[in-house]
Each structure stands twice: as C-alpha cells, then as structure tokens.
C-alpha cells in the first residue's frame, strides 16, 4: 500500500516512486508494480551489483537498462511535479487564496523593473534587423520593403523571443534562486508548518504576474524595435519614415500582432512555472541552489526556443 498524501503533493509524488525495494508485510517482496518500479529505481541509483548482490560488473544490457530507468524516472518526476504544481496553482486561484497585493508586487518586480533591459534589447534587435535587411537588398527590390522586413521580424520573432530570453535571465533565474534558497533553508517547510500554502503565497502570484506582464513587455519591445529599425533605416540606407511605414503596412496583418502576443503569453507562463518548479525541488544547501538555478536557466531557454520553433506549424496553418 502506498500512502495517498493530502496536500503534500510535491513530496507525495516522490513517495510514489520509492527508492527502496519495499518489504511486504510477510517479509517477502511484494509483487506490486511499484515494487518492480522501485527496483529499477534502486538499480538506477546504486547500480545493479548493489541490488542483486552480485559482485561482477553489470553487463552492457543491464547498464543500458539502468540508464533508461534513470532517465525515465527523471522525466516522470519532472512532468508529474509540474502537473501537480499547475493543479495547485489553479486550485489556489479558483479558491481566491492568492492576494492581489502580491500579484501587483510581482508585476512590479518582473515587469516594471525589466523595462530598461527589454527596451535596450529591442533597440538593438531593431537596428540589427534593419542593417541586415538594408545590406542584403540594395538593388532590384524596392527599398520600402525593408519596412515590412523589419516590422515582421521584430513582431513575429525578435520581439517575443529576445524578450523571453532576457526574462529567463532576469526573472526566471531570480525566481529559482529565491525559492531554492527558501527551500534549502526550510522556509517552504515553515510555510506548511504554520498552515500557509506556499503555492498560493509564492507560486501563483509569480505565474499570474508573468502571464500579464510578459505580453505587455513584448508589446513595448515590438514598438521600440520597429522605431529603432525605422531610425536605423533612415541613417544607413536613407529610407525615410514615410516609405518605411508604407512598406510596413503593405504586408501587415492584424493576425501578426495576435501571433506575437500569443507567443508572449506562452513564454510568460512557461518561464515562471519552470523557474518555480526548479526552485521548489532544490536540495543540498547553497551548492544546490547554484545547481538548480543553472539547470533552470537551461530548461527555460530551451523551452522558449523549442516552443518558438513549434509555433509556426501549430498556429500558422
């Protein structure tokens, strides 16, 4: 029998994947799926010889199996924990257990304080696209097309993706390090011990703030990027603002903005969720915080890039 924990989801999930071969009531190994699963888990952690009692080195098949078991267990753990985290966040929001004040505070920290770096990135992105485009087609194509190239690249790609990458570093890493430190210093346990729910207090406000704030930041980045591209086009290839905007309007669809902001919304949701998840599973002191923060940055960056690649096939059809 496995315990069915109540409100203890994070540790509870791990309890479903025991690392010990459990002994049955009568002393024999219980023939339960969890027992076998646990056996593979133990093999993965400690190697076959430790479990089987054999002293010779494991065969290649055994090592391979252990690798698969370990990888499978990790994937299961992460996905299960994220699913439970999301469930708890939704429950906290539906139950109105999230304080609007902490959402506002997170919106300030994640949004307002990120404006300078987002604007700077957008300016540079606009300039680079404009220069790149201007360099590539002086000649046959009318120059005003540059207006459309810059606008579309900024709105569809540069704006959302570069903003997201910047926010991974500025917002995501901060969340993981913050929650990770709270986890290893037992502050998360302390929340539970005084009957408070860290998911409503810490996790939900950050996710809600991310969903609200990132689209706004991306909208700002789009605007600033286009303006910077326009100025740059004037300075480098002498394309005036009027022709630039004429070109931009020629190919513009209102769908483009929707596409851009949908991306922003997805990134604004993913970054805090991954960051919180990694923070809450931190273990092992300051070193552990460093480790999960680095891992979180890697996961968030990959997630942003992969989702960006998945967007056209999913949405443009």
């Amino acid at each position: 029998m496995l315990p069915t924990p109540n409100g203890l989801s994070r540790t509870g999930w791990r309890a479903l994947v025991p690392q010990q071969v459990t002994q049955g009531e009568n002393g024999r190994h219980e023939e339960h799926w969890a027992t076998r699963w646990a056996w593979f888990g133990t093999c993965a952690v400690r190697g076959f010889p430790a479990v089987t009692g054999r002293s010779e080195t494991p065969s290649r098949a055994e090592r391979w199996l252990a690798q698969v078991a370990r990888a499978g267990r990790t994937v299961l753990q992460h996905s299960g924990e994220i699913a439970i985290l999301l469930r708890d966040i939704v429950a906290a929001l539906v139950g109105l257990r999230v304080s609007p004040r902490s959402i506002l505070r997170q919106m300030y920290v994640m949004g307002v304080q990120s404006i300078p770096i987002v604007v700077l990135t957008a300016v540079l992105a606009g300039i680079v696209t404009s220069q790149q485009g201007g360099y590539q087609f002086t000649g046959a194509i009318p120059l005003y097309v540059l207006g459309s190239i810059v606008t579309e690249s900024v709105v569809l790609e540069m704006g959302p993706v570069l903003t997201a990458i910047v926010l991974v570093g500025r917002v995501g890493a901060r969340i993981t390090a913050e929650l990770g430190t709270m986890k290893v210093s037992e502050q998360i346990d302390a929340f539970y011990s005084v009957g408070r729910d860290p998911v409503s207090i810490l996790a939900a406000p950050r996710v809600v703030a991310g969903i609200i704030v990132v689209p706004v930041l991306v909208a700002i980045a789009n605007l600033v990027g286009i303006l910077a591209g326009m100025v740059s086009a004037q300075l480098t290839v002498g394309l005036g603002p009027n022709s630039f905007l004429y070109g931009a309007r020629l190919y513009w669809q209102s769908w483009d903005l929707f596409y851009s902001l949908t991306k922003a919304l997805v990134f604004g949701f993913t970054i805090p969720v991954v960051a919180i998840h990694m923070g809450l599973r931190t273990e092992g002191g300051a070193e552990g915080v460093g480790k999960t923060t680095t891992q979180a940055v890697m996961f968030m960056t990959l997630a942003v890039l992969i989702m960006d690649a998945l967007f056209p096939p999913l949405l443009l059809d």
Partner: protein, 260 residues
Amino acid sequence: MQTRPVIRYRGVHKAFDLPVLEGIDLDIHSGEMFGLFGASGAGKSVLLKTTIGLIVPDRGDVEVDGKSVFFGDGRDLRRIRDKVGYVFQHAALFDSLNVFENVETGLPVRRLRAMDGMRIARLVWQALERVLLDPREVMTKLPAELSGGMKKRVGIARAIVGGPDILLWDEPTTGLDPVNTAGVQRQIRRLSRELDVTSVIVTHDIEGGLEMCNRVAMLEGGRLRFLGSPAAFRASSDPIVRAFVDRAAAEAAVDLVATT
C-alpha cells in the same frame, strides 16, 4: 499524567538514498515532555517532520489527536498544523518578512481574520517577551539583521504565538549561550506545565533533556534503540546509550566504531 496518546507513529519507514527510518512505532501522551536523542544523521529531524506531514513516509502513518496525517483529508491536516507548533533546527524565518510579521504568521489564518490589529500585536509582543527578546528592539528588524541565537528565539516565538497544543522542538537550544539555553528550557517546562502543551524535544543536550523530560528515546539505525524514563536511560547498560550518558563511554564508543 499519562493519558491518551496525542501523537502515534505507526510503522514509519522512510528511505532517501539509504534507509533512514525503518519502522518507528511510538506513542506520545498528552502533557508529556518527550526527549528524542540520536547521533547526527540518525533521522530525528525526519521523524519530527513526518508528524505534520512535511516529509511523507514510504510506509506507515502518523496520527495526531486520533486524526491520520497521511490518510485523512486536507482539512484534518490543516487542523493538525494549526494546533502543532514546530521549532525548526535552523529557525527557518521568512527572509522577506520582519520579526513582527514572522511571528504573526504563527497565528492560524482563520483566527487571524477574526482578530483586530491590537490583539495581534499584543500576542506577538507576548510571544517575543516569552523568548526573552525585547519586542521594541527587534520587532521591525529583518532576519538577516539578527544573530543566530536571536533568529532561533524568533522561530520559537512563531511556534508558540498561536497557543499550540503540541510543540515539536528540533534542537531548540543548540547554538544558544548558557543563559538563553536555561531561558528556553524554562520556557519549554512552563509551557508544558501551564498550558498542558505536549512537547517532543530533539536535542543533543543530553543532560538538559534528561532533566526536563519525563520520557526519552534514542534513535539509532532507523529504529528506537531505547525508550523509557530518564532514570532508566542513565542506568542503561547498552554501550550506545552509555556513550550518550557519559564522556568516558563516548570515548570508548569512538574506539569501538573505529575498529568495526
């Protein structure tokens, strides 16, 4: 004094990479002061944490006041957490909250809603005074501005402010100077006597523990190696228990461990 059990550990098993708890069965009775000893890493903190569901055992269950911690519903667990105060080994104060707000979180949410600011302030004030802190001085400080011993005492204030029925102390006196150690020990005794609080105290201060508690246990190798009265603990002939009681035996045990 020994009446119904308020905490029952039943077959608690927990393994991380290696087994830590291998079947703990233990009843703690109402009004009892229970001392839990054991070497570093023996699993004392893990056992204490299972009491309010901070760590889920692989097998077994804990009951508090007849309610299951791991098989009951969420409401039961919330009630259990409301009536149990937990003193963390490293204080675990909330970094972003000042001392007042930290202690305030010790009040159950539902009671907090029904209270006005004056009443809350008075309770927090009293709790701070009880742990020999000057409220005027520390109230607005952040945890980062406190010494280790002060943090510890704020942690105790947070655990006692809600008037709990049960207090779990994870090394309450480790890292305190002798005066504060005596102060905290007096506090533990007073709470147990006056408020009929049941205490479980994890401590490395064996002498202090034996003096204060009416029953003690020793955790070793995932099981309770000893369970009984302080007098029986002192008189035990078990070499491991002896190592905890007197220094000479500890020296002998070091040699014993080194040779095996």
